[in-house]
């Protein structure tokens, strides 16, 4: 799987990030905040997934398990134990990280196609647990999770306050991913992706690096899931279903695999499409998602951001 990296972008990125940050700050006054929060949650989820597929070359088809488990954990902590929201998010993230470690230890024993099938099967196991265990509410999910007061002070039932918390969580997650990719650790991940035998021969403990990347990606996906539970005051089976695992792959692929902003763009497009189409076309949403998938794989493998970068690069050369 390819990645787009170019010196020119490295110089332009601080400007771009700064502009996006300001847009993020003023956006809730122009656009419906709940919609924005949904995009940011899924954006972080997709960025976390992209860290694994785009930079370490590992296709997990079970990332919904981390999103969902963290959502349930956060929901139980906040609703049933009455902890504050930030503790709920941390607790959910931790739960996802532990689950990610378990998945990772098992899945990295195989590679490629098998890796994808194993993560999918393990996630399905989590789905059945969520379905059958009383504490998760089965088919009904975990309903009526209160947003509570951040640090016991700020009332999050106010949508604008909630938005800034989600925005802060997203920025923190995004910063961690950005730093990881550009750290020596991230470089080794890329080396493993490009040529695993060579990385082994250079003396790197490949399994350890893969596992660490997996846990990190799972934890960040969990952070997105826990935050999402607070936003919608609900954790449900949809979040652990394999459809969700497929959706995050689609968001990443559509936005641009291995690009830093692609997953966010992809999440934005898919979430907008779904909310636009949901009441107009009913079950055709699944068909449309499938068609986008097929088109992305056949014609559009660089994704939106990847294509844009290629376009700018070509313009720069001419």
């Amino acid at each position: 799987m390819t990645i787009n990296n170019n010196g020119m972008f490295a110089r332009a990125t601080p400007l771009l990030f700064g502009a996006l940050f300001i847009i993020g700050l003023v956006a809730p006054f122009a656009v419906y905040p709940t919609f924005l929060m949904k995009i940011l949650c899924f954006g972080l989820f997709a960025c976390a997934f992209n860290l694994l597929l785009g930079f370490a070359g590992l296709l997990s088809f079970g990332h919904a398990a981390f999103l969902g488990t963290a959502g349930y954990a956060c929901g139980m902590l906040v609703r049933d134990l009455g902890v504050t929201p930030e503790v709920g998010i941390l607790g959910g993230t931790l739960a996802a990280a532990i689950l990610g470690w378990v998945f990772g230890v098992l899945a990295i024993r195989r590679s490629g196609i098998y890796f994808a099938m194993i993560t999918l099967a393990l996630a399905q196991m989590v789905f059945f647990f969520a379905l059958q265990w009383k504490a998760t509410g089965g088919e009904d999910g975990l309903q009526g999770v209160p947003r509570g007061h951040l640090f016991g002070l700020i009332d999050l039932s106010n949508n604008i306050a909630m938005y800034y918390l989600v925005f802060a969580v997203f920025c923190a997650g995004f910063f961690i991913i950005h730093r990881t990719i550009h750290s020596p650790f991230g470089q080794i991940l890329k080396a493993i992706r490009e040529n695993e035998p060579r990385a082994v021969s250079l003396g790197y403990d490949v399994a350890k690096y893969k596992l660490l990347a997996f846990v990190l990606s799972a934890a960040l996906a969990g952070m997105a899931g826990a935050t999402k539970t607070l936003v919608f005051q609900l954790a449900s089976l949809t979040d652990v279903h394999w459809h969700m695992s497929g959706e995050v792959v689609l968001m990443t692929l559509l936005g641009g695999l291995g690009t830093i902003l692609g997953p966010l763009v992809g999440a934005g497009v898919i979430v907008s499409l779904q909310s636009e189409l949901a009441d107009k076309v009913g079950s055709w949403v699944t068909v449309i998602m499938g068609v986008i998938f097929v088109l992305c794989v056949l014609l559009f493998r660089r994704g939106i951001v990847g294509e844009l970068q290629a376009l700018i690069k070509r313009a720069g050369i001419n």
Binding site: M1, L59, F61, L106, R109, R110, S111, G112, I113, Y114, A116, M117, I118, L120, A121, L122, Q124, M125, F128, F129, Q132, W242, G246, V249, L253, G282, S283, W284, V285, T286, V287, I288, M289, G290, V291, I292, F293, V294, C296, V297, L298, R301
Partner: protein
Amino acid sequence: MEIFGVPSALFGSQLLIGLINGSFYAILSLGLAIIFGLLNIINFAHGAQYMMGAFVAWIALTKFGVNYWVALLLSPLLVGALGVLLERTMLRKLYKLDHLYGLLLTFGLALIFEGIFRDQYGISGQSYEVPELLQGGVNLGFMFMPIYRGWVVVAALAVCFGTWFMIEKTKLGAYLRAGTENPQIVQALGINVPLLITFTYGYGVALAAFAGVLAAPVYQVNPQMGSNLIIVVFAVVVIGGMGSIMGSILTGLGLGLIEGLTRVFYPPASAVVVFFIMVIVLLVRPAGLFGKAA
């Protein structure tokens, strides 16, 4: 009569259901293994193609009055032909890329098929009547066996072993095995490898559709029947490894039986027991029971 404190009739019927499920696992994992061997693609649409096999039989019966026996032949042919078309127009373009793109493409196709059928027929199941010849049952002494269920196991095993025979003992099978080992050399020897690949994909898909027709009278025909099954079949494939045809068949049947037994002794675990076995196999023998070490 009791076995381990469980009434023998219950024991027997759960074991039979296990064996039937196992037969479906066997056919589907066999198809996946054949396709993977030559195309290096994991066919995520396999479950959707199984579902379509069942739907084609159901539509043929209710709309056109085509009976079960014709459908058993017609449905795999039609769905297999669709498979050939998909291979020629789409999958073919991906062989030079990372294998994961094949998984992603077929995942998208599975979503499309499932969505179309859900839009047309809703999520509630349609029932398909057991053909007249196979209605009723026989009393085996320790249990009552519906004849149709016995037929499913026999037919599934016949197809599995027929496929095994074709691959291991015939000339076409020899080409196929050679193509799996080294397509370039086989091509250089004058064998039309692209055609072989198309045929293989079509055959794997037809197997899935055949399983779908067999399943139609046992389960309800509904758009989601394939997607839930295919994830279990993936676990079966991880447990067995895709290196051996006979391995796929035996693993499928064995896991079906274990699942049936679990349903007798501890029903809540029956949905996850295959995944649990997968975890143990990964810890003890990561390459799979019949797999070659990676």
